[in-house]
């Protein structure tokens, strides 16, 4: 298993650097079951509960599939495995758990930072699992599940770079995604930095690799994904910039669906699937252990 995952990272690197040699990683034989099938220890597919037709759950069951907006270029949360063409990652594993609980098929569409919320408000996606931080402004626009992951805001640079903390970013060229929380964080914490706002984090990786920017700032886990692909990069040590609780996003006011998703999440956290996904996508690279987050939405964004 470990071996295969290594191969997949190789493939992601190949894709992100636009290299053509991606087919070198072709010996991936676990294509059956759609690449995301390896979610251990899944409960044997007990028939899903049938929901009334007027609920979101019922409508999804009638459609037979749930449309989930995920990242396509942010390993290890959501990324395209170039040898199988499947979308994989931590967010995708949780998406599969949601689909299983409804007894439907998951359909993944790409949701970049800037279009995640419109996808929900316009109904393009039923659910967004796209490394999306829960914050007060977004809570006004959409509903969130309880946090399913807690990330920390950090800075990445080339090894040997001279950034020691956020205070050193003045005058430096810093990349982050348009529409991410870091747009505002950086404007506040490093007002003198020259911000480069792009659509996807793969563009930030490209830019920091070839010297187009001096640093990238975003969630530690996204930055770790970049370091796994390119070990000439490093995280800047020191205190984290921000704490970023990831939540699933869904239509504003759909409390029944929110409650359902939180139920799925509770089960996912308690039956070992969360830890298995963590180990598979992050733990084996960072060497760190983690427990599922215990915070609820209320803890993160207190209701006024």
């Amino acid at each position: 298993m470990q071996h295969h995952t290594r191969h997949r990272w190789g493939a992601v690197l190949a894709a992100l650097t636009l290299a053509v040699g991606a087919s070198a990683c072709g010996e991936d034989e676990e294509k059956a079951g759609g690449g995301t099938a390896s979610t251990p220890p899944a409960e044997s597919s007990a028939p899903a509960e049938k929901f009334p037709a007027d609920t979101t759950m019922g409508k999804i069951q009638k459609k037979g599939e749930i449309t989930i907006g995920v990242k396509y270029d942010v390993p290890p949360f959501g990324f395209k495995n170039t040898s199988t063409g499947e979308i994989e990652g931590f967010d995708i594993d949780f998406g599969k758990a949601v689909a299983d609980a409804l007894g439907v098929k998951p359909k993944y569409i790409e949701a970049i930072s800037d279009n995640r919320i419109p996808f929900i408000t316009e109904g393009t996606a039923d659910l967004i699992l796209s490394t999306m931080t829960i914050n007060e402004e977004r809570v006004m626009e959409i509903n969130f599940t309880d946090p399913y992951f807690i990330a920390k805001g950090r800075i990445l640079q080339k090894k040997g770079g001279d950034v020691g903390g956020v205070e050193d970013l003045a005058g430096k060229r810093v990349c982050t995604a348009l529409g991410s929380t870091y747009e505002e964080t950086l404007k506040k914490e490093a007002p003198k930095a020259e911000l480069r706002l792009v659509d996807t984090y793969s563009e930030c990786l490209e830019l920091v690799q070839n010297g187009g920017v001096d640093a990238v700032s975003t969630d530690d886990v996204i930055l770790t994904g970049m370091i796994i692909q390119d070990d000439s990069l490093e995280l800047v040590k020191g205190e984290e910039l921000t704490v970023e609780p990831y939540g699933g996003g869904l239509k504003k006011g759909d409390e029944a669906f929110t409650e359902f998703l939180n139920g799925v999440l509770d089960k996912y956290k308690s039956d070992g699937r969360w830890k298995a996904a963590y180990e598979k996508w992050l733990g084996q690279y960072t060497g760190e252990d983690a427990e599922p987050p215990t915070e609820t939405l209320e803890d993160v964004v207190p209701k006024s």
């Binding site: 348009l178 706002l197 070839n210 010297g211």
Partner: protein, 217 residues
Amino acid sequence: MINVLTENLDDFAAGLWVTTRLVAGSFVVALVLGTLVAALRVADTRTLRRLGTVYVEIFRNVPLLVLLFIAFPGVLRGGVEISPWTAGIIALGVYTSAYVAEVLRSGVAAVSAGQLEAGLSLGLTRLAVLRRIVLPQAFRTVIGPLGSITIAMVKNSAIVGASIVALPDILKEARIVNSNTFQTTEAFFWAAVCYLLITVTVTVVFRGLETRYAIRR
């Protein structure tokens, strides 16, 4: 509606200024390169004409977004330090210059061959005839089409900001406003107004040039 503009006026103004500088720079690049390439295309040596044709066909037939990815990360990866400004202005300018060259060539074709012969028989070199007699008339013939190309260039500049070059232009600022306020329609409405400010100015300037200098045929 109006409050999205007034509360984010500095963002929109900054974007307007960035777009204006970008298109001004690209316009100069496009005009200079376009004239040179048009001259190549009407040269009397076949190799030079071929060279001009290859230039026009390459830059007219490759999407601007692809050019931008070559002009910025591609050049950086080749080890050449290039700023987003330089990359953006060159890419948009070169792309537009192919269209300028095509239009100018048609303008040159509209100048009667007799003038060229007259110039040559007076002892002027071919280049001098082109520069002093043919091209000035060619420009005056194609003022209208040049205006259309310039307007298209202003609109194409939005692609520069949306690409990896990521200049904070009108569209980018509008998207930032949108991501902060979630007022999608309003943010992009005001972006459209900003673009109109530039394109209408371009239209007025070119109309002025046309009434003053155009040769009607």
